[in-house]
């Protein structure tokens, strides 16, 4: 999976599931998701489940942190670190 694919895949999922009606151009790679309240704990867990299933990685409890899941950018970096 290419870098562009990871970011776009995440962007589309987040827009569809949590930001219905929002323009894609408003969701940047560095838009804060957790600290801004876009993703609450339930939404984060759904995103974690999606990431696990779609990218074939396992996210441990302590890894579902604000640090790793704060933005599309940070989620992408986390996915890549797990795959490597």
């Amino acid at each position: 999976m290419t870098t562009d694919n990871i970011e776009e895949t995440l962007r589309q999922y987040i827009l569809t599931e949590f930001l219905s009606g929002e323009k894609a151009s408003n969701l940047h790679d560095d838009t804060p998701l957790r600290s801004s309240g876009v993703l609450d704990s339930v939404a984060t867990l759904r995103l974690v489940a999606f990431v696990e299933e779609h990218f074939g990685i396992t996210v441990e409890a302590h890894e579902a942190s604000v640090e790793n899941f704060e933005s599309i950018q940070s989620i992408k970096a986390f996915i890549e670190s797990k795959k490597n």
Binding site: S41, V42, A61, A64
Partner: protein, 381 residues
Amino acid sequence: MDFELSEEQQELQNGAIEFARKALNDDMIRRDHEEIFSHDGWMACAHFGVQGLPVPAEYGGMGLGISEVIAVMEGLGYGGRDQGLLFSLNAHLWTATLPIMFFGTEDQRRKYLPGLSNGELIGANGASEPDAGSDIFAMRMRAEKRGNTYVLNGTKTFVSNAPVAHLFVVYATIDAKLGPMGITGFLVDSNTPGLTVGRKLEKMGLRTSPMSEVVFDDCVIPVENRLGREGRGVAVFECSMEWERGCILANYLGLMRRQLESCIDYARNRKQFGKPIGKFQSVANRIVDMKVRLDACRPLVYRIGQLKQQNKAAVLESSIAKLLVSESLVKSCQDALQIFGGYGYMVEQGIERDLRDALGSTLYSGTSEIQRNIIAKSLGI
């Protein structure tokens, strides 16, 4: 979308109505007054198949689809007067049986689902805490991993079925620093050392459904009793709530229909000032409102069944249904009370008990305020 019952669903519902009328309504006034949980009623429901309705046949259940379960529960609410027992059944099904069905290991399913389905095991759910009610994910109960065990410490409150339960599904955090991401589900047998069921809590309504606090004091359980993965307790809990919010209301559709019919009957036969009271607009309008509410609520509950049967999420729809059905139920009970007047106020009629039972519905499974928050969030506000 067609929400009319199929022939099979109608047959199931009719059977449930007949069963409930015969088996669940004895001695209601005394049992409500003395807060007596009906073990006979529980086992009768088990023999009828209620506790096993959604459980796959390989684990001892009937393997019914969710829409069929809703149809049966509506029938039980119509024919049955013991809303407390029905509430206990719902708590057992959606917060104990279902999480094991969806998140349990094969060993856990084989160990617990047969007993949960045949009436031998009564399930209870420990989530709320003294300082974590609506803010449920602020729970503080701890689960410390030690070798092949978890050690549980904390207190759960408002635990329905606790005084009679054999199995508890409880939620605790494996690391408070992780916040909600640390919450994990566990299965705890009632005879586990370190688990203490507190005194029964006396309630305003649903008095035949027992409730108490449960204290966990160095309660050691094997690692095999973890339910789902570490840190995924929120997903387990939310799944429970999604189903509970939709299905627990199915009984109330039946109750609202029964109330409507009895109010119509009363309004036709009770005469004041020389004519049936139904001829007075102020009475007729209340009955009309009861009918409108019932017809608005019914599709909302069955819609959840359809969505879950298609494996779709129903979080928003469950919240909408929970909000409208619970608040409609309370209003309809108040209308029934007003229509029956002084007789409605008397214990003998059962209407005051229905109202006391109904008031809890705007509180449990997430208060009306919480449902509004969920709906608002989904609207992006």
